[in-house]
Each structure stands twice: as structure tokens, then as C-alpha cells.
Symmetry: D2
Subunit: 319 residues, 4 copies
């Protein structure tokens, strides 16, 4: 069967390599090129044993690809999205460059929220990893207008170190991360807050979000622990979630507590919701787990690419 | 100099061993006995290379000790506290048996809150590890009546596995914990909630607490991430904390974010507090880190024992 | 297509679960039953999200399976192999019960050495994990009679904790394994030594083996570091290895150093060999890495099962 | 009491910080300066909570120190040793610059071998971490001429990542090291081989050493697993070791197997030795564990400094 040629820009990072590995095992795609300026000419081994050789980004034959994934750094990605479009390729942009405040033709690719917009789009802004975990965990409450107006949704989330990328930072060395745990971007200053606030606004939710990310001594995975003040008690919140996500191939609504090991290396969000005892105001606790490199990056990007190319949404994705 | 004889009941667990190691390096204490029913007769090596040989708890010469630390399991400890008292020893109980709803003669040994009561007590109920981190993180706000009435304080906390004790549980095996992260006792069902609620009540705080603990892939350390809705904005919360804890030998109020590596193997709580952006209601974020086995267990117990025996509070404690 | 019914005895351990997961994704197999006495009635989730419900081993409908994997404990497995045979099933036994000194009808299932015997067998003794890594690493030297007579092959190997099984031992708790490293079964006392010596004998190698296993703070993977005194210098040992293993689907002879991350979750042995500098006697250094649960247990068992059932050897196996 | 002023050159790395922490808790030393060119002006927190502020190395008031520790990089250290000497300071050099082939006035500071030379020296070359673990493990056999002439001593050793220093290398990122294990400098190419060979030569040992280091997913600690072919059987090797190291304050000869957790954060080498079964030639297995940053670097350096300054050798060192 004909395989659709796909390009990856910025392929040497964690998300880029994961994209190359997904393309390699996709039944309808082939890798047209993978770029990495600093590692051009270098051949690396992907998960599963296949290899890929990087070319310089400037040398990318953009026109050879029907779709391009851009895993370029924030700030540097936008221009390559434009070049890829100009060369006739569809684009899924994994950077934050196009997520908020762009023209309406670039849907925010939280697939379970924007499936139809994604299907017809030529460019999609792939959500951030934390935003994916948190927004999917809130979606049934936001769409049903269950959140108390003016309240604060408190989110404590923790991520594995691959969320920070494959960059030579001393604070990410094994010796600094092992047996440690710390918050960062505290006080509501994380980049992903903007896209979360934007989605809340679009869904007419009047609540604030207080988001505190943490760095875990694990390679991959995000767990978000979310406290949601409600405008009214919900009798069976789990039923509400199950109904909302019925038929979704990549959402697992569960009764027990999601763990990183349940989701890592899989393109799923695993979510539970429960009422809390000994608190007077109606409040829900939501726990949402994803693999930051799969459902939080490369996997969701592939999910969107499948839709944009008219493929089955689940093609080539590990569940 | 004369050394005060000290006994340890239930010495084979993580907290018990830490107590034995602290006694071994204490300039004014000597170890009278250390009990461990299942490991009686066994000699183990403490941190630092010294060894201790366990005897059966029933064989403990309680009367030989001026002070007994009970690190017996919850439920089994209370009777040994009573026996130790009857034998004439002072007792610091590390179990939860005496923490809430006991007679007024047994102070709750959160030292920085109850120093004077501890000093004169013959029995002290040593706080739980999570409760220690969280209550110390809240103390300046509780005492100053800064918390919004009727609000919910949202606490997400994470602990190393030694918090669960040295018990042969398959869910605590290395293979199950490494590269994993998970919540437990979700929905506000953790044992330590009771003692936290009791302290809030005593300090006339009308807020609820929503507490979600998590299991970290680290051996030791607790980090509590706390969202506090305020009744009014506080101009300089860090100054408030610094004033409250001025002179406290074991509290570090810091401007940067506390990490587990800052506190492990030390008897300190390291705390920061900051206002949060992009949230309309006045809200503070508090981060509080302790070593669950030191300030969260053996260290705080030693701090209390020092006071009960008339020693300098800091004697024999690593800062 | 018809799927061959397969049973798993002792399915609740790490190897047993891995077998169930492999069967679940095998294109020609279906899971007839999975037994676990202590967890009978319990439903667990496999890697990949599928679930399996255990039945008591005594209730296993052995006759329903065309092939049975026995992952029963050493010592308890042999009787179940016999029962399974009596019920008409073929058996791959993952225990050590049948590996050494049994009748000639039970081949030792180191597939790359005994492929033809395995193909015709009704019972196969699956090799131990360490023995697999080490023997595959030595095979080209053993078969070519390159090892110095009377010499000692020195093997230092390290394994992840899943090699010790899913058993509630305090020495395998996260708090005891993290940030630690230790040898065990030192002085040449490990169980796998017997099967290695047996193979050396069958291949007319007169050398001794000195094998020291170590416990790594990782979940899975074995790396064996092997010093081999030669009877004569070998000009290009890598070429020798490449020639020996040409066409082998599950052996990767590489020029760079094999790492655990190269092999984990894959049914491969990754091997390099190199001469050593500054040593006067001709000596080779061999490094051999496998995933102890895949090529070292469930994967190799499946490789053997594929042969015994007349399937392509690589069917359903991750490379 | 007067405190001797001590300087640290290259203080921002792992060994340098450990030196600063040791000086801070030393009863007879005070920190005169600590240099770090790239981090000049920066204040960092040491283990134990104290802080140190780095100055530029060029600004170091070398003459203010009675003794200087140089933890400068290999190659860059020698010139600073010379400058320090010219300024009148004694020097312990932790780099490899002066370890082999230098004039006889610079003893190789393996304290247990060269105590008297160190005592009178103005410059000491502190041994490498691996060399320390391995040579201490071999010392009783080397000095007694027990090693088979012409034989190969096979050493497999594994180290925590701090052995590679606090440098921003992507291969040392948490995401690359966790759940991994790998050899490096294989084929007998590690820098420390030279100093080991030099010591063997000085002790008239005719054996070769085949040394293979590995990178462990732990922060600190080295375990060396050593196979020693003997010229003759030794009846009670443990007694031989106990006799050789009797009275040594920092050597623990033990009957059970040394583990990293036994030695980390302590200035000790913990060693066992045992005969091996099922090997025809007389052979011993030696296991030697140290903390690479303490006995393998800063601790041994302090041990040497104590001797050079006429202090008790154990002063300020954690055992």
C-alpha cells in the first residue's frame, strides 16, 4: 500500500524521536526526512531498534512531505510551520508558538475537544503536555458548567524529566534529580497556563486555575491532581465522565487511581474523579495521568495527523 | 558525663532505626534497649556503622530507661506507652494512638507549636510526618487568622517510600515503585487528616482541608504543596513567615523553592510562601519540605525528648 | 484465523504476566487460561491495557491448551510439566527444574543453540536469564574452541530486580534498592552456574566459569561483562560473532557497547566483543545485554513455543 | 582554638563541594577561599545547610591558605599546584595530573599504602576513585606476593554518576541514566588503569589488570568486583585481610558482601574476600565498596591533609 511521506523537524529531542518511532511503525506512513541541526549526519537508534539519520533543518525537502511534524523549540517553530505550509505540507506543530491567540484557522489540537476542526485543518497546534492532562481531566465538568463561578481550580501536577527535553542542563543530571522532588514555575507562572485559560474561556468557565508543576525522578509520565469547586453537588461524577468519554479510543475513565505505569508508552489519558469527604463545599478530586511524550506530545500529534490525512484516528498508535 | 538511658520500642522499622542512630550520636544519651519482636536477637547496622541488637519487646527493661521512644505500630503502641509510664519512664509515642482526642496531659508534639507543653510533659504524641510538613507550612497563617472562613485549603503532598514503613508489601517493591507515581488515600481519607483538623480547630481556623498524598519513587522526603485561600491579601507573606519562625532552630523560611535534597537527613522543615498570579481571590501558595524520617518522625521525637529531659532542644540533631 | 489455545501456569509473577501479554498480542495464539493460586479470582491489567483473570492452578483445564507455559516456582514446576504432558499439551518450562541432567528428550531451549531440537520437542526447558545472556555472549568462542583450556572465564553480571520475582521481600523494597548496588550469590554459588557448565561441557570447552551476579536499582535488564582467556589471538572477533549470528532474528552483534535501554522490552540479545589492551595473554572482553523478562524469560519461551507449534519463530515477538 | 586556613580550587564540582562541606565541619580547619571560574560570585548551599560563595580562580589568595585542595579538571590542575606551592601552601591534588610518573617528592596518596610519605609531603597526588577501591581491595594480596605471575586480574567495577562530575552532558541526564546500565572505557582504556599498573609495579606484582568500569543509575558509590588468580591457595583470606588492615580507621574488612549503602557518605572502604567454588585454579573473589566522593575523592584528600598538617588522621571525617 502507498505510504504517505512524513517529515519531522527538530527530530533529535525526546518528542522528535518518539515521532520518528511512531512513523516507523505506522502502517500508512513513511519517514521522508528527520532534521536536527546540531546532530545533522548523525544516526540514532529509535525505540524498537530502527535507526534514523538526521539532516540539517535547512536541507529539509519540505515539499516531499504530505505532512510535517514540527518539534522545533518554542519560538523557532513558527517560521518552519509557515515554510512547510508554503511548500504544500500539512503541519502539526508541537511547540507553543501557535497555541493561543492565533487565527481561527489553526485549531488547538486537543483531539477529544476539537476533533472536527482538526479533521479539516492544514495546521494544528498540538497542546502542551500538562495542558493535555489537565484539560482532559476537566472537560466533562467544563462542558457541563459544573464549576463554581469565580472559584479557583487548584492543580498540582508532576512530570518526568523528559518533559524538559533532551537538553544539557546540570539541574537535569541524574545526580541532581534522583532522590529529589521539587516544584518549579510556582506561583502560576508556567507557560501552559495560557492555553488552559484560553480553553476555559472558550468553554465559558469563569473559574481561575492555580497550577503548580513538579519535577519527578522518573523519565516519563505526568500525573495531575486537581481540586474542583463545584457550583452544585454531582451525584455520580464517574458516570458523568464515562458518558462524556464513551467511545473515545484514547481516554480511560477508571474507578481506581491512575498511575504513571498505567499510561507510559501508551497514547491514553487515564482519568478518575471522586467526591471528597470532610469538606463542606461540593468539591471533586480529579486525577489524570498521561505519558508526556505520547498523549502529551508525539502520540496526540499522530492522532491529529491521522485525522488531517483522513486515516483512522487510532492508526499506528499504542493503546 | 552521665548519659541518660533511653529505650526504643519497635526499633526495627525505618523510624526505629533512625532513633537508635540519633541516640548513638547524642552527647547526653545512651541506648538502654531496642526491641523488635520479629527480629529479636538480630544485630543490624545503623547509619554511620554502629550496630544494635534487638530484644523482644516483652523483655524490655522499661524501668531502666528514663525515656522511651515507642515506634510500635498504630494500635499496638498505646498499651506500651502505659506500661512505660507505669515503669516510671517518660514516653514519646511516634504512633497515631495518642494524637487526637486524648486527655489534655498528652500534648501533640508539634514542637514549634507546643514547646512549653512538651517541656513539662511525661508523655508526648509525636505528630505524623505529613501533618508535620503541612501544619508547619500553615502555622503563621492559622495563628494570624488569615485563612478565609469556610474555604478549602487544598494540599497535594508526596512522600518517599520509607513513609510506608519497612514492611514486605509487593506494592512497595522496587520494580513497582521505580518510574511510577501515584496518589493514595484519595478523597480525603488519610489517617493524618484527623490530627490536622484537630489543630486547625484549636487554632480557631474555620477552613476545611483537602489532602491528597502521593507515593514518590524516592526513599525519603515529603514535599507538601498547599493552596491557601485568604480572607484578605497579605502584602509580604515571606516576612510574616520569617517573623513567626525567627529563632526557631529547625525551621528554614526561604525565598526559593524547597526541594527534598535540601532537607533529607536533616531535622528541618524548609518552607516558602508566595502570592499567586492570575487568580482573582487572594491566595497563597505554600511549599513545605521535610525528611519524613527526621523532622517527620525520629528527629522531631528527639527534639521533644530533649525538651522533656531538660536538654538543649537541638542536642544530637543534624541541621 | 484459528488461534491456538495456550495456558499459563503461575501467571501472576513478572514472567507470567509478560507471557500473558505476549499471548494477547500474538496473531496465532489465544489465552486458554492463566493460573495463580494466591491470586485466584483476581483480575490484573497487563502491559498494553488488556486484563487477565487468574484461576487456581488446580482448576487449570490443561487439556484445553495445545501448549502450556509453566512459570511455576523452581521445585514446584516439574509436576505440572508432567500433568500438562499427560493432558496432551506441549510445555515450555521456565523453571530450572528440567534444565540440567534430565533425559535427552527435553532440550535446553537456548534457541540459537538448539533450534532443531526445540522444533521437534514436546517439552522444552527454558534457560535462566543470566545463562541466556552469558551463553549467547560466549557461543561463537565456545563453538570455535577459542577458549584457553583450563582457564577461568570471569563473568560479572548485573540484573534488574524483576529477576528476583514479584515476591514480598524486604530486601527488594524500593527503599532498600534505590541508590544501592550489591553482589549476591558470590563465590560461584548461583543456581544458573550449573546450566552454564553443562553447556560448556557439551561444547567441549574445558574452561571454568566464575560468575558473580549483582542487583541493580533498575526494574529490568541484564548486562553481563565477560573476560575470556583465549588459546590464541583472534584477529577480528567482531567478524567471528557477526558470522556466527548472521540471520539470527534476535541477536544483535554491535560495535558499540550494549546498554540495558537498548534491549529492554525487546526479545533480543545485544552483544559486542573486543580485544583488550595492556594485557599480555590473548583475552577478549564480551558484553551481552538482554531484557531478563523477554529474551531472558517470556520472550525466549515464546520463541521456543513458536518453533514447537510450527509457527514462524519471530511471530508475536517485539524486536 | 586556631583554625588552619584551607583553600579549595575548583570548588563547584561534586568533589569540590564535598571538600568545602568537610572543611566546614572540621574542628581545626576554616575555609579561606573556594574558587569556581564559571560560577564566581555564586553562593551555593552545602550538605548540612551551610553556604559558600565562589570566587574566580585567578583571584584566589593562595598565600592565605596553609593547604590548598585542587579539584581543578585533569590537565588544568598541575599549574595551580605549582602556583600554590610557590605561594607557600601545601597541596592535595585531586586531579590525575601528578599521579603517575612524577618526581619522587610527590607521593601517591593512597593513605593506607603511603602514610609515612604523605605525612612529610608538601604535595600529594590524591588517587582516582576507582583506583582507590581496587587497590585497597588488592593490597593484602599484592604485598604478600600472592598473585599468580603473568596472570590477569579481572576487575568489573560500577560507579554512580557523580564520578563523572557535575558537567552538563546529555548522556548523564536523568532520562538517559535511569533504568539503564552500561559499561564505558571498555577494552582496558580507562584513565585510572595507569595508576593501578604503577602501584602493582612498585609492589613487584607481575600480573595484568583488565578493568571494565560501568555507569550505575545511582548518585554515588563504587563497587569493584575483582577476580584474582593466586599463585597458591590461601587458607583463610579474610584473616589475611583483617591482619593487614588491623587498626586502619577507614578500612572495614567484613564477612558479608559490601553494598553501596554501607559506605555512602562515609570515608571508608568496605572489603570482603572469599575463595570461589567450582574453579580449579586457586582464585579469590574480592569485593570492595567506597563512596566515590568520600574515600574516593574528598574524604581521602582530607585524610591526607590531616596527615600533612600534623592532625589526627581521622579529624573531621565521617565514619
Amino acid at each position: 500500500m502507498h505510504r504517505t511521506p512524513i517529515g519531522v523537524l527538530g527530530a533529535s529531542g525526546y518528542a522528535g524521536r518518539e515521532l520518528c518511532a511512531l512513523i516507523a511503525q505506522h502502517p500508512r506512513m513513511s519517514l521522508a526526512f528527520a532534521t536536527a541541526n546540531e546532530q545533522r549526519g548523525k544516526t540514532v537508534e529509535l525505540n524498537g531498534g530502527r535507526t534514523v539519520t538526521f539532516i540539517a533543518t535547512d536541507d529539509a525537502p519540505l515539499g516531499d512531505a504530505e505532512l510535517v511534524f514540527s518539534a522545533m523549540p518554542h519560538g523557532a517553530s513558527k517560521v518552519w510551520v509557515e515554510k512547510s505550509c508554503a511548500a504544500g505540507a500539512k503541519v502539526v506543530d508541537l511547540s507553543s508558538d501557535l497555541r493561543v491567540g492565533n487565527d481561527d484557522n489553526i485549531p488547538y489540537g486537543l483531539t477529544e475537544l476539537r476533533r472536527e476542526s482538526v479533521r479539516g485543518a492544514s495546521v494544528v497546534a498540538n497542546p502542551g503536555c500538562y495542558a493535555t492532562a489537565i484539560l482532559l481531566g476537566l472537560l466533562p465538568l467544563l462542558e457541563g458548567e459544573h464549576v463554581e463561578r469565580g472559584a479557583t481550580i487548584s492543580v498540582s501536577a508532576a512530570s518526568g524529566v523528559t518533559g524538559a527535553g533532551l537538553s544539557a542542563r546540570t539541574d537535569l543530571l541524574f545526580g541532581e534529580v534522583t532522590e529529589n522532588f521539587r516544584a518549579y514555575a510556582a506561583g502560576n507562572t508556567h507557560r501552559h497556563l495560557n492555553e488552559m485559560r484560553a480553553v476555559l474561556g472558550e468553554l465559558s468557565c469563569d473559574a481561575d486555575v492555580l497550577f503548580t508543576p513538579h519535577l519527578l525522578p522518573v523519565a516519563r509520565g505526568i500525573l495531575a491532581t486537581i481540586t474542583v469547586p463545584l457550583s452544585h453537588a454531582i451525584a455520580d461524577p464517574l458516570a458523568l465522565y464515562r458518558k462524556r468519554f464513551a467511545g473515545e479510543p484514547f481516554i480511560e475513565v477508571v474507578a481506581d487511581l491512575p498511575e504513571l505505569r498505567h499510561v507510559n508508552h501508551r497514547n491514553v489519558a487515564r482519568i478518575t474523579v471522586m467526591p471528597v469527604e470532610q469538606v463542606r463545599r461540593p468539591t471533586l478530586l480529579v486525577l489524570s495521568a498521561i505519558d508526556n511524550l505520547m498523549k502529551g506530545a508525539a502520540g496526540q500529534a499522530m492522532q491529529n495527523a491521522n485525522l488531517m490525512l483522513g486515516f483512522d484516528e487510532t492508526l499506528g498508535l499504542p493503546t
